[in-house]
C-alpha cells in the first residue's frame, strides 16, 4: 500500500490513465463521452492520474456531468489536490487520494484506490520496506557505490540502505544496516521523514529516510558495496547515478535540521 492522503471517500479499482501536466476538466474532457482532448484517451472507469487541477472552477461541475453520464473516472490520484478537483470529486462521489508521487504509476497499471484511507495499491507489484540513511560528517554525506550485480539499482550510488526485517522497527533497521555495511555505530537518528516510495519494475520500495550525524567515522565496507565517498549535498543533486529521490530526502532532512 502506498500511503497518501484521503481526499474523497470510497474505494475503486481500474486501469491507470496518466497525464504528466496539470489538468482542467473544463475544456479538457468531453463530459458526455469521457474522451480527453487531443486523443489522449478516455477516462471513463479509469484511475485518472495527474499532478493536480487547474483552470475554471466550473471544472467541478464538468466532473459531476461526467458522473451523470456514467463517464466519470473510477478514481482520481493527484500529487497535490486543489479546490476544483477536490470539490468535483467529493460532489460526484469519485474516490480520490493525493500526496502520491505520480511517477510511481504508469499507463495500464491496474490500481486500487482507497479514498477513505488515502492509500493506493498497484496490483502485480510487491511492496518492500527499506531504510535509507544519510550518515553526515562535517557537512558531507556518506555515499556508497553499489556493485554492478546488485539485485536493486545495480551500478548506482546510494545512502546506507537495506531491508527492514520482520518485527524490526525502521529506526533499528537503520542502525543495523549502518553497522553491517560500514561498521559505523550510531545511536539515535537526528532526523527522519515519513516514508517515500520508489518504483523499480514490479517492486515498490517503501523507503524510510533517516539522518545520523557522526564524528570521525571511518567506514569499513562489507561485500554489499564496492566503494564509498563523502559527498557534499549540492554534488548529490547533479549526480545521475544516485538512486531516485536521494537528493530530495537529504535536502529535506537537512532543511528540517536547521
Amino acid at each position: 500500500m502506498i500511503k497518501g492522503r484521503a481526499i474523497s471517500s470510497g474505494k475503486a479499482e481500474g486501469k491507470v490513465l496518466k497525464l504528466d501536466s496539470m489538468f482542467s476538466f473544463l475544456g479538457g474532457v468531453n463530459a458526455s463521452t469521457g474522451d480527453l482532448n487531443a486523443g489522449k484517451g478516455n477516462i471513463a472507469g479509469k484511475v485518472f492520474v495527474f499532478p493536480g487541477g487547474k483552470g475554471s472552477t466550473v471544472g467541478s461541475f464538468v466532473m459531476y456531468d461526467l458522473m451523470v453520464h456514467g463517464k466519470a473516472p473510477a478514481a482520481i490520484i493527484n500529487r497535490l489536490a486543489e479546490t476544483i478537483v477536490t470539490t468535483g470529486a467529493v460532489i460526484s462521489s469519485i474516490p480520490m487520494a493525493d500526496g502520491i508521487d505520480t511517477d510511481l504509476l504508469n499507463d495500464g497499471d491496474y490500481v486500487a484506490v482507497d479514498g477513505d484511507k488515502g492509500t493506493v495499491e498497484i496490483k502485480g507489484t510487491k511492496l518492500v520496506r527499506v531504510v535509507s540513511s544519510a550518515v553526515l560528517m562535517d557537512g558531507k554525506v556518506l555515499i556508497l557505490q553499489r556493485p554492478d550485480n546488485a539485485k536493486s539499482f545495480p551500478g548506482r550510488k546510494s545512502m546506507v540502505a537495506g531491508k527492514i526485517e520482520a518485527g524490526e522497527t525502521p529506526e533499528a533497521a537503520a542502525a543495523r544496516e549502518i553497522a553491517e555495511e560500514t561498521r559505523i555505530s550510531v545511536s539515535k537518528p537526528d532526523m527522519c521523514l515519513p516514508p517515500v516510495y520508489v518504483r523499480e519494475g514490479d517492486t515498490v520500495w517503501e523507503v524510510y529516510p533517516f539522518l545520523f550525524r557522526v564524528r570521525e567515522a571511518d567506514p569499513v565496507l562489507n561485500s554489499e558495496n564496492t566503494g564509498f565517498e563523502w559527498v557534499s549535498p549540492d554534488r548529490i543533486a547533479d549526480d545521475n547515478l544516485m538512486v531516485p529521490l536521494t537528493y530530495r530526502v537529504i535536502n529535506e532532512m537537512l532543511r528540517k535540521l536547521k
Binding site: 472552477t57 466550473v58 467529493v90
Partner: protein, 391 residues
C-alpha cells in the same frame, strides 16, 4: 483536523446524506489548506448561478442536492444569473436557456437560498458585521466584505460555499485566522477620485501584485469606489483582502514597517486602462459590474437627464439588483429612455457572445472577463466616455 463530536456524527452520516456530503466537502477542502478545525459562520453568498457557467452538470448537481433535502442553515444569497428573470426576451435569451435558468433559481430557492441574484448583497440583504466569519463566493463581494467591512472569508467556490451554508460552518484556515490578514505590500496610490479611477487602480494593483494583501495609502475610497476596486483587483489578480490607511476597519491593527512599497499613479493607471481596451466602437454598453448602487443609479440618471439617444443601434444595459431597481423608479424612468434597466444579471454571466461582438464597460472586472467568458472585444471608459457615441 479536529472535529467536534457533533461534526463527526454529521460526517458519519447520522444527520442525513446531504449534510454528510456537505461535511465531506468542507473537511476535504479544510484538509488541503491545513485547517485545524471548523468555524461557525453567520452568512454565505453563493456563486454558480448562471446556466451559462454551470451548465447541465451544475444543474443536475443542484437538482440532486435539492431532492436530497439539502437546506441552508444560515442567511445565504445568490450571485447574478444569466438573465433578468422577467425581461429575458429583451436580452435576446433563448427560451431553452430561460427554462434551464429558471430551474436553477427554483432549486436554490428550494434549498432556502435568497434568490436576490446580485453580486452586491452587502448593499442590501446580506450585510456581515466586522469580525463575522462568513463563507462567500464571488470574488468581488468577498473582497469587499473582507476589506471594507472586516468580515472574514476565504475565496470560496460555489459548491464549497453551499456546503458551508448547509452546515453553518466552514473550514478554519487562511483569512479566517487573524495572523493571515496582515498586509504583505504597501501601495502608495494616487487617483483623481472618480469611481472609474478606482476601477483602474484595482486593475493596476492586481496586475502589479497578483495575490497578496496590499495596504493602500493616499486614497479614500467610498463604498462605490471600494466596490469597483475590489472587483477589479480580484479579476486582474487574486486579491481577496486589502487594507486602506484610515479607511478600512483593520488597517490600524498592523505594523507595516519593512514592507515592500509600490507606487501606482497616473502612468500605471494609464497602462492598466490601455491594456483593457481592444475595441474602437461597440454594439452594447453595459454598466453595473458590480451591480449599480442607489447612488450610481442617481448619478447616471442625472447625467442622462435631458439628453437624447442619437445612435439607436447601440444597446445599453444598466445592471443592478431588483431591490435597487424597485427603490429608484424616477431614475429607472430616465434610464429606460436609453436602454434596459436589468435586475438579477450582468453582461459577464449572460450569454451575450451569440448576440454581440464588441462591448463597452466602465468596469475593469468586466474588462478582464468579457474577452474570455463572452468572446467580446472591449471598450473600457468612464460613463461619459462610453456614452459619447450614443447621445
Amino acid at each position: 483536523m479536529h472535529l467536534t463530536r457533533e461534526e463527526e456524527e454529521i460526517l458519519a452520516g447520522e444527520k442525513g446524506e446531504s449534510r454528510r456530503k456537505a461535511m465531506e466537502l468542507v473537511v476535504a477542502l479544510g484538509k488541503i489548506y491545513g485547517a485545524d478545525g471548523l468555524v461557525d459562520i453567520t452568512s454565505a453568498h453563493l456563486s454558480g448561478a448562471s446556466y451559462k457557467t454551470i451548465g447541465d452538470g451544475g444543474l443536475k448537481y443542484l437538482d440532486d442536492m435539492a431532492k436530497g433535502g439539502a437546506a441552508v442553515s444560515v442567511p445565504s444569497t445568490l450571485n447574478p444569473i444569466g438573465m433578468d428573470r422577467k425581461r429575458w426576451k429583451e436580452m435576446h435569451i433563448t427560451p431553452h436557456f430561460a427554462e434551464k435558468q429558471l430551474e436553477i433559481i427554483d432549486l436554490y430557492g428550494k434549498m432556502g437560498v435568497r434568490t436576490t441574484c446580485s453580486c452586491t448583497p452587502y448593499l442590501g440583504d446580506n450585510i456581515p458585521s466586522a469580525g463575522d466569519h462568513v463563507a462567500w463566493a464571488e470574488s468581488s463581494a468577498l473582497s469587499f466584505v473582507n476589506s471594507y467591512i472586516g468580515a472574514k472569508t476565504n475565496r470560496e467556490g460555489g459548491p464549497g460555499a453551499l456546503a458551508s451554508a448547509i452546515l453553518g460552518k466552514t473550514a478554519n484556515y487562511g483569512l479566517h485566522i487573524d495572523g493571515n490578514r496582515k498586509p504583505t505590500v504597501i501601495i502608495d496610490a494616487e487617483t483623481d477620485g472618480s469611481v472609474f479611477s478606482y476601477s483602474m487602480l484595482g486593475q493596476a494593483a492586481g496586475m502589479a501584485i497578483g495575490s497578496g494583501i496590499p495596504y493602500f495609502r493616499g486614497i479614500h475610497p467610498t463604498v462605490d469606489d471600494a466596490k469597483t476596486m475590489s472587483a477589479a483587483m480580484a479579476a486582474s489578480g487574486a486579491v481577496a483582502l486589502y487594507h486602506v490607511e484610515d479607511v478600512t476597519p483593520e488597517a490600524g491593527n498592523f505594523d507595516i514597517s519593512g514592507l515592500e512599497m509600490i507606487y501606482i499613479g497616473e502612468k500605471e493607471l494609464e497602462n492598466a486602462y490601455s491594456r483593457l481596451n481592444t475595441a474602437e466602437d461597440v454594439q452594447l454598453i453595459a454598466l453595473g459590474c458590480p451591480h449599480l448602487s442607489h447612488k450610481e443609479m442617481r448619478d447616471i440618471a442625472s447625467f442622462l437627464k435631458g439628453k437624447k439617444k442619437k445612435n439607436r443601434d447601440t444597446e445599453i444595459w444598466f445592471c443592478t439588483s431588483a431591490k435597487v431597481r424597485e427603490d429608484c423608479p424616477e431614475e429607472v424612468k430616465i434610464m429606460e429612455e436609453f436602454g434596459l434597466v436589468l435586475a438579477d444579471t450582468c453582461m459577464v454571466v449572460a450569454p451575450i457572445e451569440g448576440v454581440f461582438k464588441r462591448t463597452g464597460t466602465n468596469s475593469a472586472k468586466a474588462g478582464n472577463y468579457l474577452p474570455t467568458l463572452c468572446s467580446q472585444e472591449v471598450m473600457c471608459r468612464d460613463i461619459s466616455g462610453l456614452m459619447d457615441a450614443v447621445i
